[in-house]
Symmetry: D2
Subunit: 286 residues, 4 copies
């Protein structure tokens, strides 16, 4: 899988496709996006491994000059879809996204290596381990608790995540605001599920905000974590219909279905190198 | 059709159903909503006209004591669905909602009497008249134009609407901010279509705002007009999926489909007495 | 919770609401459906337990004469929502619906007592037991296997289910055609998830059928099991969009998301007494 | 705009992109589809006209040898999006799709040249003409009418359509079964809207069939007309939710919204050369 972003110009598609063709590469999937506003060009190409006489590392080496030529020096990747990516899940009290992802990993639907589950409630250990995952309990203080306890908990979390160096750090309803330096360290790898259709209802209790406003649809948003709360690049969103008979707690219950789906889709696309970030927006080649 | 809102209490359903039953009324449709948070009760009942030996006016007279007993003195209505409601449409340059509604009126799908179309561009006259509607041209000054011209235009608009005393005043992409005193005069009858999924992207150019934020769904909202811009009680909302390849103008084009539908549905429900307003929220008995 | 179906006539709502009101019952939710084609009437009423000086059994006893009067002798139920209903899950190789439901039970989202999981593959035992469920392995022969082995497996299954006498028997992608006598025994309790938008693509490999036809949406259907394959009363359906790039195996993968949701919703409504069967159709009071 | 289908092989993307690049063509949009089952390759490329020193005819001439080389001899097109395509609309009594399309043409949303409206009811003349379209009345006999009248009507219809030689012949709820020889003559240009989610409910009264089966969603399908009734390649489909309270006539009314949208979308994609037919399936590059 090759992904790439560069300034758009005449012949860029030909140069990329030409380079792959010369190596004998059979392009099984190819997606292109040319952004008229920014003048930027993005592509994702899936080359059949069997059509190349060498592996991903050699493809990467051979493609480097082409990338340089078209000015994509930094923003390109070559990965082998046979390499299972690793994931760390961060969870809190709400467990529906955790259960959903564990089920998807167990049934082989999301082809990842689950490196660890880190929760701030010890009770999730047995289920995590039943699915073959390492479990770590990191105790975060309650809201309003001592600052230093919180700092210590984040330091512990940071070290645990660093140990695994995962391809994705999933905040599966983690309910903690990640400090800026951790946002920076995890940039492009930390994925959050927010339980509203952003940019509506940022912050706490979004379903209660939605209920108070009397909206007729509620939603969920999967986005990369940045230091700006609930404002990072959006990967995926979806909504479901509610009506006057849905109380705020009922919205909480019904919203879980859409949170599960939106997070699972967003995570899959991230793991399959389908998401290219550009400024605060994403190109998602589905 | 009977609609009603009152404080909830034991036996209120029995009293209403009992009163209708004693008159011999056959309840063809009945919807109830009991709001646990506010302790308020709402209902909409459709009684078959043929099952009653009298008309809507007499039903209203006989039901009045029941309404008083259950404390619904003010908030109840009895209407005859055979009486066609009247509608005034306000339009500007964007005509897709106008065309859509005219088509629905012409084909008999929305059973209303179209009293008038009022536009601030004279060019729409022929189409409006081809569908049998009166057309009035009211010239609003461009944004930033002289205040007194705007005031004069609103005075003219107000008088024209007042002449028809319509059941619904539809701002079919009217693009003018209605002054507070007119909002008050039209309260509960003026329906706007806003081209975003409110409360996101209030005000001007919502599709451009949506594009800049990188959302993955765009929407439209049909709501009652109040003096607070785009903040009135929501009647209906819906969304469609967009992706990175949709530019802002493309979103404008694609959004029209959802604006048409959301406005047509919201207007229908309003005309069929399916919408009960309670504070800044609506009960919609679909 | 009271549910009821009877011939429609003047005053039936008043009689039911009157009877509940006289007992002092506070109606928290009430839904009615009057079917103009069949002349049949359906209702579901939720009475607050705290408003009654007695329990469900006494309510049932007191309501019986009313039910007789309005001709609902057989078709009515009174249940106590505090009584957790019991569920037996039947599974085969495809485990996504099993994992999804176990997650929902574990997190308390679907308030049921999971009586047992019965699978024709022993491998699911550990997961089922990790969620606190009894697991039984019943070995069904492969397709085309000896008739008597199949009969024996069904006899075993029947006995296991009978032991638990569950309120719902969920075929969570069970992949066996239930024999007519078992359909009869389980009538109104056995719920299947079929992986197509019925009535399209009945029987085997529906996603492959869908792919061959080139449809642009794929779906799933939750229905009661009857002796007619995939033809029982439909409880819930939903769809997701596919396109030309989705191969049949890709549709299989993507369809799982909609199967999970549709089964979970249908099962919830069944357990909350929201589904009333009439002929081969359902009234679903959501 | 270049569209093309050929056998897939190594280097095909490079050859196409290379040829365009050599001419100096700036690829503004590019979509590819490689079908693993049939081993077939499809592409649609939008080249900015301003980047080429010549027009579509010359591009076509220069591209011909490339098309031959990659074996796409027959199945490729080069068109100029500045050339407005022409459309003929066939209508009958149900006019919602007609009104919808006329509104879209009038507001410039669908950039076509409306060549003619042909209806079997004279009453639609004024509206068609108000939108600047030629109107022809062709009187089809009622169902069961004399065969020769029907043949004569079809002969007249065929001649009228042939006069305009349109890019699209839209059966906007035309309600006549097109004879095989006309299906052949109009192949790839005749687009029908069927009021069900095909392949469910082929033929007459699909909403009544849907109601009888008790489905929870109803749909519409836009497809190319072939001699097999409602079985041609599907371009677009969509659905909306219904429930037990929707009678068959109510489904008819509600279904119109989805018919309008599905036909408008399918027609747009056809006119923008986004639909490539392969066997009985379509590749739709949206």
């Amino acid at each position: 899988m090759l992904t790439l972003g560069c300034r758009d110009e005449v012949g860029v598609v030909a140069r990329i496709a030409g380079a792959i063709g010369e190596m004998g590469g059979w392009i099984a999937e190819a997606a292109y996006h040319s952004d008229p506003e920014t003048g930027w060009f993005f592509t994702r190409q899936v080359v059949r491994a069997s059509s190349l006489p060498f592996g991903a590392a050699e493809l990467r080496r051979r493609f480097a000059p082409v990338a340089r030529q078209i000015g994509a020096d930094a923003g390109w990747t070559v990965t082998d879809s046979a390499d299972r990516k690793s994931v760390v899940l961060l969870v809190s009290r709400e467990t529906h996204c955790l259960h959903d992802l564990l089920g998807r990993f167990s049934s082989g639907e999301l082809p990842v290596r689950l490196a660890a589950v880190i929760g701030n409630h010890a009770s999730l250990g047995p289920v995590a381990r039943a699915h073959g995952a390492e479990f770590h309990h990191v105790a975060f203080p309650a809201a309003g608790g001592p600052r230093q306890d919180k700092d210590r908990a984040f330091a512990e979390l940071r070290a645990l995540v660093a140990d695994h160096d995962p391809d994705a750090i999933v905040l599966a309803r983690f309910m903690q605001i990640i400090p800026p330096e951790l946002c920076a360290e995890w940039e492009g790898r930390a994925i959050n599920i927010h339980h509203s259709f952003l940019p509506s209802f940022i912050g706490a209790l979004p379903y209660h905000q939605a209920h108070a406003r009397g909206v007729k649809l509620i939603g969920a948003t999967c986005h990369y974590v940045t230091e700006h709360l609930d404002a990072g690049p959006i990967i995926e969103q979806d909504v479901i219909r509610v009506d006057h008979s849905d109380t705020a707690p009922e919205m909480v219950r019904r919203g879980r279905d859409i949170e599960r789906l939106v997070l699972a889709r967003g995570l899959r696309w991230h793991l399959e190198d389908r998401v290219l970030v550009h400024g605060n927006r994403t190109v998602v080649f589905r």
